[in-house]
């Protein structure tokens, strides 16, 4: 079987599974978990473009998720704007934020860029806490209405699940197109050698700015969707810990891949809800696993870097080439 064909089969099967899941799973809580998987996937697809392909690290992406969430929440709940308009606005605001964060990336690399983006994330969290006239401060922002277009209100778990995964689908199509074409090659070239890319005529500034803008927009849309699905947001959701989790998912998934990070998002997000998913598991076992979640992520990252530097995607590629 050619790897192209194997790929196509995997894509068709997973698309069908994801699309038809709500017809099989009726449990509201489980559907909510799978919706959260989709929201995380949206952020991680963006980070994969930025980090896995273009090689630009960000430890501040939760800041964009928050920015999108608060923008949408404020526009819909306080200014009574239509939901769809609020989504577009949240996308635009976070795109602008991505452009701002791209500026340090033009001068900084590696650890220094990591520090700058970390600072950005911390600043955003601080902003969410302090700007309480907009955000509600540490008490959070409640009463965000469900997504609606005209008279159509999406408020059942099934509808929300399909909404989120449709957006993920569009994002994946877009990302897949980018990485398979000229801009994607430019991103990988940048990752390989920035100077070499410049010498080959790649507009390095443009590639970096576009990668930051696109990944920030995906994160912002994820936040905006979260706000209108859950109805309540607070600064504790958009911390550096969340940024690290997103980056961990992308790293464990593997660089130069979209499928790997997608798989890693599914596995790592489900880990959080282990007790709800595995029927036999005792409450205490699940709690222990959840308590050590950050440590599990950390260990997983170390293991990936030491033993499988190209992550889940690399393991898949290796099995394909040895079979």
């Amino acid at each position: 079987m050619s790897s192209r064909r194997a790929r196509a089969i995997v894509i068709v099967i997973s698309t069908l599974t994801i699309a038809l899941l709500p017809l099989v799973v009726q449990d509201r809580f489980l559907l909510k978990i799978f919706t959260f998987v989709g929201l995380n996937a949206l952020v991680v697809v963006g980070i994969s473009l930025l980090f896995g392909y273009a090689g630009q690290v960000s430890l501040g992406h939760a800041g964009f998720v928050g920015l999108g969430a608060y923008t949408a929440a404020f526009l819909v709940a306080r200014l009574d704007l239509p939901w769809l308009l609020a989504m577009v606005a949240a996308g635009l605001v976070t795109a602008l934020g991505g452009m701002v964060l791209a500026v340090p990336s033009l001068r900084l690399k590696g650890h220094y860029l990591a520090m700058a983006t970390l600072g950005f994330g911390e600043l955003m969290t601080l902003g969410f806490k302090e700007a309480d006239f907009v955000t509600g401060g540490v008490n959070g922002f409640s009463g965000v209405p469900f997504p609606s277009v005209g008279a159509l209100v999406l408020d059942t778990p099934q509808q929300l699940y399909w909404l989120v995964w449709s957006v993920v689908g569009v994002a994946l199509l877009l990302a897949g197109n980018i990485v398979a074409s000229r801009p994607g090659r430019a991103m990988r070239a940048l990752h390989g050698s920035e100077l070499g890319a410049q010498a080959s005529g790649v507009d390095v500034v443009g590639v970096k700015v576009r990668a930051f803008v696109l990944s920030a927009t995906f994160a912002g849309l994820s936040g905006a969707l979260y706000a209108s699905i859950v109805g309540f947001i607070s600064p504790s959701l958009f911390t550096t810990a969340a940024s690290v989790t997103f980056l961990a998912m992308a790293v464990i998934g593997g660089s130069n891949s979209l499928a790997g990070p997608l798989l890693s998002v599914v596995l790592l997000t489900l880990l959080e809800y282990l007790d709800a998913l595995v029927p036999g598991i005792s409450r205490t076992t699940a709690e222990v696993i959840q308590a050590y979640q950050a440590d599990i992520y950390g260990l997983a990252i170390i293991a990936v870097i030491l033993f499988a530097p190209s992550g889940l995607a690399g393991m898949w590629r290796r099995t394909r080439s040895t079979v």
């Binding site: 000229r182 090659r185 430019a186 990988r188 070239a189 990752h191 390989g192 050698s193 100077l195 070499g196 890319a197 410049q198 010498a199 080959s200 005529g201 790649v202 507009d203 130069n256």
Partner: protein
């Protein structure tokens, strides 16, 4: 006079941030020439190449290409104008295949990329047949010599009129060096203009029409390559020969 030179530098100062490296550098390269730029480590040869392709900005002075100013042009614009650099240390895209590296070389062709890639590939595979055998291999798995060939080939993919090479012989076996220089000879016969930076002064001067000698950021000597090869100071300082010793 201006129109006869393909590349022209007038009193160029350049460097990194506030550290000035190049002082008052003037040189020219005519169409079809192979010009060698020699000098010891730290003389400013790479800085000069980086300034020409726009990776560094000249703090003063003027750079002209074909009579038009390119003084503050970005690297990607210069690639489109036909200036290509084979950087020191090759700077290939390691985890990408040979073919992908070459396709990136044609990045600047934009919408015309389809035909540019096809023609370019045919040309570079003819020049370096080993690359066509390795087309689907990752660049990082190539030998040093093959990597250097790929670096040259990648630069050629943008169909340059002026090719700049930074230390193409560095760390390579003599047989491989000979292969790369014979490829440069082929390019020359096809009319390519080449500016070559080399630490191996004798090798460079043997292939060049003219040469410039750099020391601590300045051009200290220029002339026909054959004259430089026999020049007493060049011989003792850069060719490592003693007085009266014959040229090899």
């Amino acid at each position: 006079m201006t129109n006869s030179h393909l590349l022209e530098l007038h009193n160029v100062d350049s460097g990194y941030g506030r550290t000035q490296v190049l002082r008052d550098v003037s040189l020219h390269v005519d169409a079809g020439e192979l010009v060698a730029l020699i000098g010891s480590n730290g003389a400013g040869k790479s800085t000069l190449l980086k300034t020409i392709v726009g990776l560094l900005r000249a703090s003063s002075g003027e750079l002209n290409l074909d009579g038009n100013s390119i003084t503050h042009m970005t690297p990607e614009k210069l690639v489109r104008r036909g200036v290509a650099l084979v950087p020191e240390g090759r700077l290939l895209f390691g985890p990408m295949t040979v073919r992908e590296n070459l396709e990136l070389g044609a990045y600047s062709a934009g919408a015309r990329r389809g035909t540019a890639v096809k023609d370019g590939l045919r040309r570079v595979f003819e020049l370096f047949p080993v690359l066509s055998e390795r087309a689907s291999q990752h660049a990082e798995t190539l030998s040093g010599g093959e990597q250097q060939m790929l670096a040259v080939a990648r630069a050629l993919m943008s169909s340059p009129t002026l090719l700049l090479l930074d230390e193409p012989s560095l760390g390579l076996a003599p047989r491989v060096i000979a292969e790369i220089f014979s490829a440069l000879e082929v390019l020359r016969r096809e009319g390519m203009t080449i500016l070559l930076v080399e630490q191996d002064a004798r090798l460079a001067l043997k292939h060049a029409d003219r040469g410039y000698v750099m020391r601590t950021g300045e051009i200290v000597l220029e002339g026909a390559a054959s004259d430089l090869l026999t020049d007493e100071s060049v011989r003792t300082i850069y060719l490592g020969l003693l007085k009266g010793e014959g040229s090899a």
